[in-house]
């Protein structure tokens, strides 16, 4: 089981999908950059060829100006290999095919990414909001555009809480 080495795995992945770029950070981790249309193929390849691939997480990163990066992380215990798949996305509400049918554990991670970044996952069975209250649905809080200071709080739709009064100054202060 543990015969597969990171270089072997990277080689076979390159042979199957030549457009993928692979970068090896250390002996144990691979960085794979793919295009959004290929993500299902690559994840399927990992499910088939990487023994006991544990889907660790999927999350987005806001790179500003409607650029997003989506990172899929898989960990294989027998191969001692960490795979990071990176996808660059662009657009107001970018979309990408879902992989939650290949790895069910990623279903909720995709749900969370959807509500936090507004990234659409095509074919996802259930894209209800996971963590956020109803007032914040469609606001995408983890985007850098979302401001959290009190002056912009009204936009979020949350009830406005007045800041608590500070302790009063002592009398006889200078100014």
């Amino acid at each position: 089981m543990s015969d597969i080495s990171p270089s072997d795995f990277a080689g076979s992945l390159i042979r199957s999908y030549p457009t993928v770029t692979i970068e090896s950070k250390s002996g144990q981790s691979l960085m794979i950059s793919v295009t959004p249309s290929m993500i299902r193929d690559v994840v399927q390849f990992i499910a088939d060829n990487l023994p006991m691939a544990l889907p660790e997480s999927v999350f987005g990163v806001d790179l500003e100006d409607d650029n997003y990066e989506l990172i899929y992380i898989f960990w294989s215990h027998p191969a001692r290999l960490l795979c990071q798949i990176r996808v660059q996305l662009k657009g107001e509400t970018p979309s990408i095919p879902t992989v939650s049918d290949i790895f069910p554990g990623l279903e909720w991670h995709e749900r969370e990414t959807h509500e936090m970044f507004g990234i659409e996952f095509e074919g996802h069975p259930d894209l209800r909001p996971l963590l956020l209250p109803d007032e914040l649905v469609g606001k995408y809080p983890l985007r850098k555009r979302f401001k959290t200071d009190r002056s912009r709080l009204a936009e979020s739709g949350l009830p406005i809480v007045k800041p608590r009064p500070r302790p009063k100054k002592e009398e006889g202060s200078g100014k």
Binding site: R164, R166, P167, K169, E170, S173, G174, K175
Partner: protein, 143 residues
């Protein structure tokens, strides 16, 4: 054999329980019996104004914005009027670490509960002293 083993297990469990009944309880009479607080206990702070230079490092280090230094407050020496908001403080100790002038310390006083939130906002004079009302119960005074 396994059925008899079950009976043995049941008796073993009962033995542990009965032995427990006649042992000393672990808890102590909380408000009336004092426990020993270690030296490093991160309780409420004490501010030593003679050492304070109002540099504001503690304010910068605080992750929850619980400290405020009022530099326009002329009543106090060296312009250091330190306000502490214990309704926000998480007792992380970063302010004490950040202070280079030995002006801010933790004390082992951990029971800070008050009737209202406003009383948890300590003014500069209160943060400099650790006077506490002793607890009274049935005519006896504790701590």
């Amino acid at each position: 054999m396994s059925k008899l083993g079950v009976i043995k297990d049941i008796l073993q469990v009962l033995r542990h329980i009965v032995r427990q009944v006649f042992s000393r309880p672990f808890t102590y009479f909380y408000p009336f019996e004092d426990r020993e607080y270690p030296e490093r206990t991160r309780g409420r702070h004490i501010h030593i104004r003679e050492n304070c230079t109002a540099c504001g490092q503690c304010v910068r280090a605080c992750p929850v914005v619980a400290i405020r230094i009022d530099k326009s407050d002329r009543k106090y020496e060296k312009d250091a009027a330190l306000y502490f908001d214990y309704s926000r403080c998480i007792f992380c100790g970063l302010c004490v670490d950040a202070c280079r002038f030995d002006a801010l310390y933790h004390t082992p006083v951990v029971d800070l509960s008050e009737g209202s939130r406003d009383e948890l906002k300590y003014d500069p004079e209160r943060i400099e002293t650790i006077e506490r009302e002793p607890l009274e119960w049935r005519g006896r005074r504790f701590r």
